[in-house]
Structure formats: structure tokens, C-alpha cells
Symmetry: C2
Subunit: 457 residues, 2 copies
């Protein structure tokens, strides 16, 4: 038994601004293109989908973006989130490394997602929007937007990837508890959904498909906008409250990370933690090694192509340059549903191309093993997504042990696994296996990347 | 949208002692009796089941019991827990009442149970115990002891009431994630279990049965003790960290409760909140009205008899004087599994007899309706048990509205509902109905109260 080491900030240390790393990068990311013209899009192209305040943030080059006071007020329900030193895990690993983790599972829905859900709901409410449509994978985002919608009095319609809808019925109940509507995707409600179901009646869905459905519904009604839980610049920027708090908390600990680890699906929890540290480095501060951990079954950073692609399967979105497996790539139905996206946030992709981060892929069984080891040492059961970061941190700590060096590791424990216990049940029963995509399907998806992209490159 | 009002204490305000209300009551509770002799039992009678430190606390009349530093260290992982003002709920109810809630869902297992689980595991570890057996209803206690066991290196065997085992598979997975073993009760592992199964092969179990199984297993091995998650004096005393923190937080709020509300099953979360406030009152401080809310399907305080009874169905425990429905009473399988116990903590029963608290029973559908109203206002989905306290608080707030009086209400939100979303799913689908016991079965259970009790009374 070892002492608990927790670093708690007072409420007035909730950040007053979000940090936009674009201001500090040596070069801007490639522009977002209109799929028809191949030309950079402007704010007006996005206006049917997003309120103007968020569009402004999407294209902003300002380093600091003020957090509206009503958003900070809601953040106060669970923020500042705690940062722990994983002393009992260190002991179990017998490593000289110091392992810290920032814990976002204390939010009302148990993950980092409300950090941006509350902000997006606020700006939509402020712009007079009545209804928001969105997609969700594992359900963390959908339930977070449902929570935020209930606070700001907005209707929320969630298209949930069918395989997760079936695996995680509790997430649907959580969304309904907050008053939202949750539909399995692909659905019969949209053109995109019907087209998929016609071709593949037993489709288990994907984030790309669910995005198409949500975008289509939002585009049809004036009082309805669309919200995305990751990938976009403004979403990643909202998450930087995580890393900004972590910097202060590492200061309290009298320590600074040598290595940062985060899991990556769309990229927002990862960027939320690492961008503020990378910002310090870019402005002449200490250098950090940054490791992005992704699932081997959906490895956009390690196996994808850095190219222009659609954000969705139905090709309703603009073209963004990102690490992508191809918008038609449907990842197998592994449990970390929040990491089942064919692309990577353009901002994270750009940072990767600039050489600021490295990437690594793990199979799901080794991640669950790491998750169980973490739970037994630290008393928190990680979400399947978060087990990827746990696995990455444990591997770094074991490397330190081998090398006899006491590095400081910080990772983002972006959510708890309370709604994902079926996955743990399957794991304990030996029913959970590693999932693999078909190489030829990946090759086909990559071959199908849009040609306008090639023209623009 | 209204501001979040949260009161957070610094870590050094985690209480240093537990509060034992027996020191302040005008008279001591009736003694615990040996079922064979009808005579008061002594520490030696309990020694096969509990480490001596806990037996000492069970019979202590000291007002303050020091919390060992290793226990406070583990408390620091989530304590002090937050106290919120439910401003958005007040607005939704349009009440002049001020509603506050203490939130224990921030613990690693999402309820108040780790407050005593950590203490009990510590004392057992300290006494050289290797294994602890216990029962669990909804699984909140079992998973909490599993968590505590993983921290102090103890084996944990949990007998889980079968109906909950089937309704809440995620709780079992959580226990296993912490390395514990979880068995559906009645089981084939014990004499008591086999006897029940022989008579009622399709028995859905009860806390009384599960207690028999756990006690039986503990009594058989020298390295094994038993732990109970509620009912006993020392368990209730451990929970007083909740109320002690709440008193300080109400001071921070510049307010003091007129009305306290808690849900009651075994009585520990209720006593944990209210005992410290009652202590203030008993020592000449402000008077509070205290409302205990119990399920109409298992109404020990409102329909039970205050009499000597066994704590378990198999009649392996000593006799305690409490409000009881009879140890053979098997409540219907409603969702608030943590409230499905035939008796009430002797300490709470005694306080009730002294006229310090009042009791009230609610049906489960009205409690779920209150839980959903709370979730949509406050962003936290309450555990089914906690919805009873929510319902009680809402009703008090509505009475204030009717009377036009702005009373201050404080209730204990003892846990979140993340592991109970199936109940919400059923509620939304209209499948959740109120459950009723058979009056003749209750009469029979009451008629079967042990005769030795009558002799001693």
C-alpha cells in the first residue's frame, strides 16, 4: 500500500482561454478544400452546419481563445480534473519511471468529451439554434452532447454506430436520461443511411457513415446545426483545458514530463493533453517526447496515407488533409469504439508531419491486459479507448526499467470504463480477440481517395 | 442555464476521526444477543468473523474514533467529496427551497461504500487476514470491497444476490477487474445456499441469504474473515466522513439544513450523512428534520416491527433489535438492490425509536421519474437507490413551494447509476413497474420472529 498522490487545482485555476497550437507552429496546416471546386472553402461554406462563433475558432490563428463565462461555469461541475501519480502502478511494474495521469473520467459522462460538448452547445444556443445532430462511436460523445444539450435547452439527435449501439446499450439509456434521441446508424432516416442499408443490409456502421447521417439531417433544417466530437480544430482546441491544467499540476508536483502518451481516434483527447505542452516546447520551453497510441485495427497514423479525404463515408463534408485509411474503410468492430475512425484530426496529422509526435499501434487484448493491471493497482477501470494510453505508458515505464532511467511519463486517462464492462466481461471470459482488417480492403479504400485531392496537392 | 455552485474542501479537511453517535444519545441501544442463550454477546463471540479492531468499534461508546492514516491516504483518491447546490433543479421545480446534495458517486466504484470498505480491508490486513467473504445486493458494496482488497492485497469472495447478479452483470465484471471472485447467491458452495436451492431451486436470493453464505464461509477458515457493507455500528460510523464534510461545506455555503433526506436500505449511507448533524443537535446545536426514504417494496422502517431478529436468513448471526420485516422475508426483485434488506441498522432503528428521525416509503417508478428529472437538471444520473433520496428531496421542495417557505434541504446522492442503466432502459421502455410483496408473506415472516427475542424483550 502506497500513499495516494493527487494534485488538485482550485476552481479559479480552470483555464480562462483555450490554447490554439496553430499560432505556434512553424507553418500552417494545408487548407480545407471544397470537394467540387478543389478550392479552399470559406466560412460561408460551413455556415449551414456550424454557428459562426465555432467557424471562427475553426480557422483562427490566435494563440488564445477566450472561454465564455457560462462554459467555465459548467466546467466547474467537475473541473479542474485531478492529476494523479500512479505510485501503486509504478510499484507493480518495479520501474524507476515516474508515471502520472490526468483523469478526465470525473466528468458527468465519464470522459473528456463534455469539455467541447458544453462549449459547442453554448455557442449553438447563443446563435439561436434549437436542435443539434451528431454521430457517436462508443457513445461517449453522444452522451456528452446530450448532457450539454439538457443544460442549454437544446434538442439532441444522435446517430450511433450500430455495432456500438448493440455492444453498449447503457450509453443509449444515458443519452435518453439526458433527454436526447439516439438512433442506430446506418438508419432509415437519411439518404446516406438508406443507401448503405440497400447495399449492405447488415452493415455494423462506422463513424464515417454516422457523420454522413448527422450532417445530412442538419443541412435540411434552418433551426438545426451539426456538432462533431473530435477531428476539427475547434474541438481539439476546446480540449486544451486538459493539458493547461496538467502543466500547472505537474508544476505542483515539482516535475515535468519527459514523455507524453495519449490514445488517438479522432485526436481530440490526445491534442487536448499534448498541445499545451508542445506549445511550451515551440516557444522555447522543455522538449517532450510525444507518443500517440492507436488501435492496430484502425491505424490511421501508422498505416494511413497523409492525403486529402472526406471526413465521412457519404462524402458530404469538405476535403481535409489528414492521415487516412480512406473514407470507405470500415474498421472491424473492436471495443474501443471511440477510436474507430478512418482518419486523424488534420491538426494532429499536421503536427505529426512536422515531426513533433510519434505514433504506435496496439492490439486490443494487450490493451485490456494493461487496463486490468491499471485497475488493480490504481482502482480505476479505464475505458477501452483509454487502455491504449495505459498500455503505451506501461511500455514506456518498462523501457525505463530496462534502461535503468527514471523518466517522467504523463498520460491522459481520458475516461472510465463503467459503460464498457461488457468488454471486460468478454476479456475475462477469453472471448475478446484481436481484430484485423483485410489488407485488400485497406488498399481499395486508399485507392479510392478523391482525385480532387491529388489535383490540389 | 444557472451557475454551478460546488463546495470543495481541501484535502487536509478529510476528517481525522469517525463520529460515533452512541456517545451523544440519551440512552444506549439494546444489546446484541446470543441466539442460543438470549444473553448479550461479548467480543469473543464475534472474533471468528471480524478483526478485534472492528469489534472494538462495534461496541465503542467513544464519540470520536481515529481514522488510521493509511485509510485517510486512500480516502484522498476521491475525498473530500463535493457538495453541490442543485440550482438548476430548484429552477425546474420553481421552488423557494434551497436544495443541496452531497455527492458520493466520485469514489472509484461510484458510491459511498468505499468509505467503509477501505477501513475494513485495512483492519483485516493489519490483523493478518488473507481473505474476506461478503455479500452484495446491487453490487456497490461487493465492488467497493473488491477495490479495497486490491489495494491492501486481500482475496475477496463476494456472494451476490442472484436477481442483481442477473440484472447487473457489469458489477460482476467490475469486481473481477479488481481481482475479486463473484458468485451468484444462493450458491452450491455453502450449506445455507444448498438448503435454499433444495427448497426453492429458482430462488432469486436476498441479502439475508447472501449474508448467510458469506458468514458460513468465513467461519470455516482461520485466515478468512467476514465483512458487511451496512447495518453494523462500525460500518455506519465509518460513513460519517460524509456528514462531517457536509457540515463544513454547508458552513462554506453560509447555510445550514432544515431538512436532511437520505435513502435507507441497511442504513449506512443515511447514517453517514445524518449522524454528524444529529450529533450537533444532541449537543445543543440547531435542530434538523430528518427524513429516511425507503422502498415501498421493502419497507422495514414504515411497515416492519421493532424487535430482535437475525441479520441473515440462515440464522447464523447474533440477534439484533431493529426494524425488521422478518429474516425470512424475501423482497420482490426491484431495481434498487442496495435497499433490498429485511432489516434496518440497529443504530438507525434506535434513533428512530428515540424520535430523532421520520420515515417514508416510495414506489420505484416515482423514484425513477425523480431520478430522470434530476439527471436532466443536474447532469448526474443517480443510482436506483439514490433516486429514493432524490424523490424525497423533491417532495420536500414542492411542499416548500406550496407553503411558500424557503427551507434548506440537504440530501445524500450516495451513488451514480452508471452500472444500473438497464433499469433506466426498462423505465424508458415502460417495462419498469412497481413491485409489491404479498401481505400474507410479510405477516408470516413477522410471525416467525425468533422467540428468544420475545424472552429478552
Amino acid at each position: 500500500m502506497t500513499d495516494t498522490v493527487k494534485y488538485v487545482l482550485p476552481e479559479d485555476r480552470i483555464p480562462k482561454t483555450w490554447y490554439n497550437i496553430l499560432a505556434d507552429l512553424p507553418e500552417p496546416p494545408p487548407p480545407v478544400l471544397h470537394p467540387g471546386t478543389g478550392q479552399p472553402i470559406g466560412p460561408d461554406d460551413l455556415a449551414p452546419l456550424f454557428p459562426m462563433a465555432l467557424i471562427g475558432q475553426e480557422v483562427s490563428m490566435d494563440r488564445e481563445i477566450e472561454i465564455p463565462e457560462p462554459v467555465r461555469e459548467i466546467y466547474r461541475q467537475w473541473r479542474p480534473s485531478p492529476l494523479y501519480r500512479a505510485r501503486r502502478l509504478e510499484q507493480a511494474l518495479d520501474t524507476p519511471a515516474k508515471i502520472y495521469y490526468k483523469y478526465e473520467g470525473v466528468s458527468p459522462t465519464g470522459s473528456h468529451k463534455p469539455n467541447t460538448a458544453v462549449a459547442q452547445a453554448f455557442y449553438n444556443m447563443d446563435a439561436g439554434v434549437k436542435r443539434i445532430t451528431t454521430e457517436t462511436g462508443a457513445g461517449q460523445w453522444g452522451s456528452s452532447l446530450a448532457f450539454a444539450g439538457s443544460i442549454f435547452g437544446l434538442e439532441i439527435d444522435v446517430y450511433m454506430v450500430k455495432v456500438s449501439f448493440q455492444q453498449k446499450p447503457y450509453r443509449k439509456a444515458l443519452m435518453e436520461a439526458f433527454g436526447a434521441r439516439c438512433v442506430a446508424s446506418p438508419s432509415e432516416e437519411t439518404e446516406s443511411g438508406r443507401a448503405i442499408l440497400k447495399e449492405t443490409p447488415d452493415s455494423t456502421g462506422s463513424l464515417g457513415i454516422a457523420i454522413s447521417e448527422a450532417v445530412e439531417m442538419a443541412a435540411q433544417r434552418d433551426d438545426t446545426k451539426y456538432a462533431l466530437g473530435s477531428v476539427l480544430n475547434h474541438v481539439l482546441t476546446h480540449q486544451t483545458v486538459v493539458g493547461q491544467e496538467a502543466i500547472e499540476q505537474m508544476n505542483m508536483a515539482g516535475n515535468y514530463p519527459d514523455i507524453l502518451v495519449g490514445c488517438t481516434g479522432g485526436g481530440s483527447n490526445f491534442a487536448g493533453l499534448v498541445n499545451p505542452f508542445l506549445g511550451e516546447q515551440l516557444r522555447g520551453g522543455p522538449k517532450v517526447r510525444v507518443v500517440a497510441v492507436e488501435p492496430a485495427a484502425c491505424p490511421s497514423l501508422t498505416r494511413g496515407k497523409y492525403a486529402y479525404d472526406f471526413g465521412d463515408t457519404g462524402h458530404l463534408t469538405p476535403l481535409v488533409k489528414m492521415h487516412t485509411l480512406g473514407s470507405t474503410f470500415v474498421p472491424p468492430g473492436f471495443h474501443a469504439g471511440g477510436l474507430r475512425y478512418h482518419g486523424m484530426a488534420p491538426m494532429v496529422s499536421h503536427i505529426h508531419e512536422l515531426g513533433l509526435i510519434e505514433a504506435r499501434a496496439y492490439e486490443q487484448t494487450e490493451c485490456f491486459a494493461a487496463g486490468v493491471q491499471f485497475a488493480r493497482a490504481e482502482g480505476i477501470v479505464p475505458a477501452p479507448e483509454a487502455t491504449h494510453a495505459v498500455k503505451g505508458a506501461i511500455d514506456e515505464a518498462l523501457k525505463c526499467k530496462e534502461a535503468g532511467t527514471g523518466r517522467t511519463i504523463l498520460f491522459n486517462l481520458c475516461g472510465h470504463g463503467h459503460f464498457d464492462m461488457q468488454a471486460y466481461t468478454d476479456y475475462f471470459a477469453g472471448k475478446l480477440t484481436d481484430q484485423h482488417y483485410d489488407e485488400s480492403e485497406l488498399a481499395m479504400a486508399l485507392a479510392g481517395l478523391p482525385s480532387v485531392a491529388a489535383a490540389a496537392e
